[in-house]
Symmetry: D2
Subunit: 309 residues, 4 copies
């Protein structure tokens, strides 16, 4: 077994000169204010050990990584029936593209592009007022991370609401196809709040540990999903988790993962560990440049790629 | 460790009543003649044991599965420079779509859709007459399978040549973008011959064993590619190996794999085994219906999914 | 010179057995209630004579025909600068498609598809509250028709607001590209009211007479636009006025025209007459089936086609 | 009546300083050799008078303008049945786009984009060897122009054959949808020869005069098509004759017309005159820059726009 702390330390040391690379997301004003000179990483193994590097304890806006948690909630509510509302295939287009939605009559390609995540949010809202749905998600994530200090950044949520025209377009378009049941402003209210979840690498790695550990969190003993469902969520992350850079991430890193425009990437080494890396600067497909590099280094040095050692 | 032969026997038994399901590919006249009532499966483990079920010894037209072998040859010739000619992302469209090619100026999305495989073929042909390139591929596959009896079915190759208008369209289109160097008829001549490779499940599983075994064939001791390249080819198979059904295959089976319209599917359990399943009837996205079901059963019963057990 | 009243009478007589053909637009609930068994037609010549047939005096929802009047207003406000906000080419897609908008970065193809008309509305609103903009349009149309009884049907406007999800999608999408300046709800508020303009064939033919008469209304003496601008608006109607049926309308009728889903078609015989025909049943591209046939008959019997007699 | 010769002289004089503007088509090597410093114009009125300016007598490659003649032949052969093979709507995309063809299953949008013209050529070939079809077209054009000196430039035809990969893609793609009956090389052989027709402005204006004169050539007395068909061909030219610049040409010039990448534009003032203008430099949508300007000037100064004077 490799010395994980040594691996993390070496990655951090090698990447230190590059911290600040990439371009901070600027289409959400509140995110544009983030200092790009930050980098953190955390690994939690299935036997409950935690390894940290850099700013592993600094909360950041997890943005689209939250789609994994909302998907988990939705599958818990409606099971495989969810797939009538959203597909399971990579999209071959940008995270906020609307073209596919017209060609496929309002059914988004997968739950990890914006349109798909909005449809998933609509599913989770059934029977709930928006505020309740937000509360449910926040409780769920705190429960997963076993940490009551996880919060939602209201300023970020508001900032997204004020500038999220494309998301309003996507939601209205799906509503035209009757693939959104609730009022669009309600659904997007919940959606923008989920994107505004603020978590540190350490919290994130702990919250997602169940995906590495057959559906249960070995640190808390909580059973979250069945082993089969954990596998399936991992499969979705691998094929669709990085928008139109999913193929590239699989090629270079070889782990199921989900990125967010806040600069975070969450990844899973099934049966071994869950991982979170964060650095705000993004590459041109909208994934964190340094977090992706850090994960590639980690996979190479640990042999954790799902595609062979 | 599960009793693999028992697993294969049980799968075969359970599927027997369903043999004949799906629709044999009919756009290539020679393939349309195949008797759909056939099913075979073979597993070769990295320690060199072979397990068989049904028609595991019957040769069939491997069609697009050959793209994996041609890609391996091309990477051997030009290395990572190959990615200037073809992308590594899932396409989000049908195997023979030309739309993406126009939107992305003649660069196919990945080496496993037709356009991408034709570009890869063009790369392998550099410095070769068509006949030599075909010979090189055949020798390579025989070497991989350690079996000189692998052949190319000339009737199938001819049948594809006579009806492959869409492939002529794709190749000419790429040539217009200067992404094909050789005369289109030469490139397609080689391409149609590679598609016409005729192999049994057993031969196929043996030929692809190197992808499960860190790049080397443990049965022959031949080193084919580096461990890193083996991982990367596996990653490409997982994200792009089943056209617009890749996400679904990952979701249900959880193994890197490549399908062909001849009804075959080749899959890899990294570090464990290589697998081939075959039944001619296809589902609506063009993958073998029963071979996919068989692989889902196999993954479920062995815990081989790369996404967790 | 043909006897116009005789021509109209013969058309009406021949079409009477077919009145009721086609399918009333049902995506706007208020429009779905219309009795399909209605047909009217009015012709106003440049020397001020009026000819009528059938329900020429019955007001109907002019819907997209209003785009011609709003375009005229917008050109009056910003002149040729308008074309930075919207194109002048046929779209080759449906009236409410959003695909083109993504491919062309938020610039609609022409002012007669929904997206284009929404952008034009946004231009007209500059410096106005929504209610003022609606008032301005209503005054303008009354002035053109020289008829103070033209109204806006509030029930239809409300019905569109409640179900116009696709238009909300289009507007938000353009706003994301900064091609909409005002709040989306305001712009669509105005847009839905313009679509709800209620006019009879006679009122419509009179209102549009300036387009047949070098930009001035010969009945009132009002100068509306320059002769050059009148020609240009006619050109836009001919190439783009019937969505993806524009080529067909030019082929069969040969007059610049604009249709609406309320079943009306407005057309211009430059230098000769303006024409309005109406029957609620639509053909499959969304244009009035009988109004189109009536106009084809009229053009054939009068030799008014702009493409030769 | 304006003094046409004076109008032509003034246009020629005003444009003289600009001769050489635009960019000569370079994707066909033989065309790239043309001296851009040429400009010609010819007008033939329905009473048989001919007016000339500049290089009106210099033969040039008419390229896509030939599609008008081939369409006329095809309509003569199969009548309105032609529209089962090709549409009549503007395409909203480039002249050589293949995207639409996939979305609409092998039926080109109109006869004036490359795909449509290739399908039309295939229709004309029925029952003919390629050489005969070429001969038939050449005889037809000579008959229309009443001039036996019209030729086909074999060098240009050969040059197109050697570089026409996109056209090969289009034809093969349509063949895959069974919308091409003859061998692709035969159809394109004829197609490339028709594009290589070499005519002067004067010859071209004479050849197309029938479209301005109710289907008959008043200079020769030959009846070519019915008045109705002449109108319809004019309608097609207006809506589709300049690819994705058709709307713009209608807006600025207001005459049915057809352009070619050789720098020629043929236009019709129905009931009045036929016009040809030529200058090799193209604008960015592929139409002759100066020929378009010359036609705009001509329409403005004569009041010939079909959209009003």
């Amino acid at each position: 077994m490799v010395d994980l702390q040594a691996v993390l330390d070496s990655i951090y040391k090698e990447l230190t000169p590059r911290i600040g690379e990439g371009k901070v997301a600027d289409y959400i004003p509140e995110l544009a204010k983030i200092d790009p000179h930050q980098f953190g990483m955390a690994v939690v193994t299935v036997d409950g050990k935690i390894y940290r590097a850099g700013d592993a304890g600094v909360p950041f806006s997890i943005q689209s990584i939250s789609k994994v948690f909302m998907l988990t909630l939705a599958l818990g509510k409606v099971g495989e029936g969810l797939w009538k509302r959203v597909g399971r295939e990579p999209s071959g287009s940008a995270f906020n593209s609307i073209v596919q939605l017209e060609h496929e009559h309002g059914i988004p390609r997968n739950p990890f592009i914006n349109a798909g995540a909005i449809a998933v949010t609509d599913v989770v809202m059934a029977g709930h007022a928006p505020r309740e749905a937000i509360g449910e998600l926040l409780r769920f994530v705190r429960y997963l991370a076993d940490d009551e200090s996880v919060t939602i950044d209201e300023k970020v949520a508001r900032s997204e609401t004020q500038t999220g025209y494309r998301n309003f377009a996507l939601a209205n378009f799906m509503r035209a196809y009757k693939n959104i049941d609730h009022p669009v402003e309600h659904v997007l209210g919940v959606y923008f709040h989920q994107c505004a979840l603020s978590m540190s690498c350490e919290q994130l790695a702990k919250a997602g540990l169940f995906l590495a550990a057959r559906g249960s969190n070995p640190m808390t003993g909580h059973s979250v999903v069945s082993p089969k469902r954990a596998r399936r969520i991992n499969a979705l992350m691998l094929t669709c988790g990085h928008y139109d850079g999913s193929g590239d991430f699989a090629y270079h890193v070889g782990l199921p993962g989900k990125s967010g425009v806040g600069g975070g990437i969450f990844a899973v080494a099934p049966g071994v560990a869950s991982i979170a890396a964060w650095s705000p600067g993004l590459n041109k497909v909208g994934n964190s440049q340094l977090a992706a590099v850090a994960l590639e280094m980690l996979a190479a040095r640990t042999g954790w790629s799902v595609f062979g050692d």
